[in-house]
């Protein structure tokens, strides 16, 4: 009976690792994706897995406030933000493909390389003597962060940059829940409110850019120079 919590923790660790791996695969799928609507849906799926990770950690570590974080992720990132963006895409009539600066095969390989960097960084935080959840999740979180950053640099269109920013934020969230088993609830609430507001404000901003320059290609913003 003494061993039970440890076995449970191991099972929890395996589930979290599996989900984290799926999150990482979806992040790489995002890098290789050309259609913006599918890009948005992949983001929604990634957020869904993130919510499931949060719920798993809450269950196995008896941290009930993480359920709130999981529910908020579900409502905000899986439902609200994708709906908001899909409506924006429909309203702006964006049909064209995403045009990355570095071509897709190379981007995917770079994303793989960034994942390695993430693992190397996370390895220095590894304490094998402490049984706990989420050492792998930390590595995935750092990789998400780096790949999100890379995707932001790599894209020309404002909307896809916003999506990359949000997936980067997913990485931060994953790091927070896997390292500390969740920040205090009030911080989480603030962060989610922040994400929602940011998504709305950026959505309006993208729309305004489009209205002014008749394109969401940010490289055209250089015309502002006097």
């Amino acid at each position: 009976m003494l061993m039970m919590p440890f076995i449970n923790l191991q099972l929890g660790d395996r589930i979290v690792t599996l989900m984290a791996a799926l999150v990482l695969v979806l992040q790489i799928a995002m890098v290789s994706q050309r259609w913006i609507v599918i890009h948005i849906r992949i983001f929604a799926a990634q957020s869904l897995f993130l919510a499931m990770i949060a719920a798993t950690i809450a269950w196995f570590n008896h941290a009930p406030h993480l359920y709130v974080a999981a529910a908020l992720t579900l409502v905000v990132k899986v439902i609200l933000v994708p709906i908001l963006f899909e409506r924006l895409v429909k309203r702006m009539e964006i049909h064209e493909e995403i045009e990355p600066i570095v071509n897709v095969p190379l981007s995917v390989v770079i994303a793989g390389g960034l994942t390695l960097v993430g693992y190397v960084v996370a390895a220095s935080f590894y304490r094998p003597d402490e049984p706990g959840l989420g050492h792998n999740a930390l590595a995935v979180a750092i990789s998400l962060f780096l790949i999100g950053f890379f995707t932001m640099i790599n894209r020309r269109k404002a909307l896809t940059q916003v999506l990359a920013l949000l997936s980067l934020e997913n990485g931060l969230f994953l790091a927070a829940i896997s390292l500390t088993y969740g920040m205090p609830l009030i911080v989480e609430l603030g962060v989610f409110f922040d994400v929602l507001v940011a998504a709305m404000v950026l959505g309006i901003l993208v729309y305004r850019i489009r209205e002014t320059f008749e394109s969401v290609d940010v490289s055209r913003l250089r015309r502002l120079r006097g």
């Binding site: 599996l18 290789s32 095969p105 995917v108 793989g112 994942t115």
Partner: protein, 317 residues
Amino acid sequence: MTERMMTRLIENAAQLFLLLVLAPLVTGVIRALKARLQTRRGPGILQPYRDLRKLFRKGMVIPETASWIFAATPWVVFFSTLLAGLMIPMVAAEAPLGLFGGVLAVIYLLGLGRFFLALSGLDSGSSFGGLGSSREMTISALAEPAMMLAIFTVAIGAGSTGLTEIAGAAIGQNWRFLAPAQMFAFAALALVLIAETGRIPVDNPDTHLELTMIHEAMILEYSGPYLALLEWAVSIKQLVLMTLLINCFWPIGLQPTWFGFGALQGIGWLLAKLLFLSCAIVLLETVNAKMRLFRVPELLAVAFTLGSLALVSTFLF
């Protein structure tokens, strides 16, 4: 000693029989399922056998420009594929010719067949053949690293590149494909399987009429018995790769050795798993459109990245 040799001989004969007979059936089942899913009636599942019989009876036309390579290719392709098939575990973890080489030998035997096929595409003197050869080589050069990385991931888990050891280590770990490393490796190998067997996002196996064809372009000049040998070899190669995939990653029902009641059970499980994988392939082929040739490297880059992630995560997870 002689008894041991007899056992080996029986194993080899049984697997040879299984490879030769089962391969056209798998092709037939995939075609029939695909037709059903597209609400066509389609040919029956025995059609590939009838095609083979018809082709073996026909005469041959050989291009005037062709050299001995053209005549040698069907034999080389057929027998190298068959030999590769004898080196993989099918019904039991023990591969009949496992003694002669592991997974690397299997991959490069298939590579030998592909090399000759590409040569004969050039040899036939038609411009389509050359196009097909160059495309096939481009794709296989990109698919091979991804395949290697995925295979090495599995081999590290077993501590050996021998397929008998790999399949043996997999027995009893029915749920291990849920581990991240195995999952990445499986995804990478599945993408490579699609590219190598010329399935739809990469190549269309059903048509000779597209300018974008790859495999069919290489064998365009073949007819009669040679064409039959090549078609048979292609379906055996497909069976070999599918079996490799399912026995490395879903070891449920795989037997340690060939004999007794276990062999029947093993065959039953093999058929069930093949049917399942065929259904997955059919679904994938039906919902996807063929990719433009220049997009194929993107798909294989994803496979490569997945393969390298798999290899890395065996060390880190």
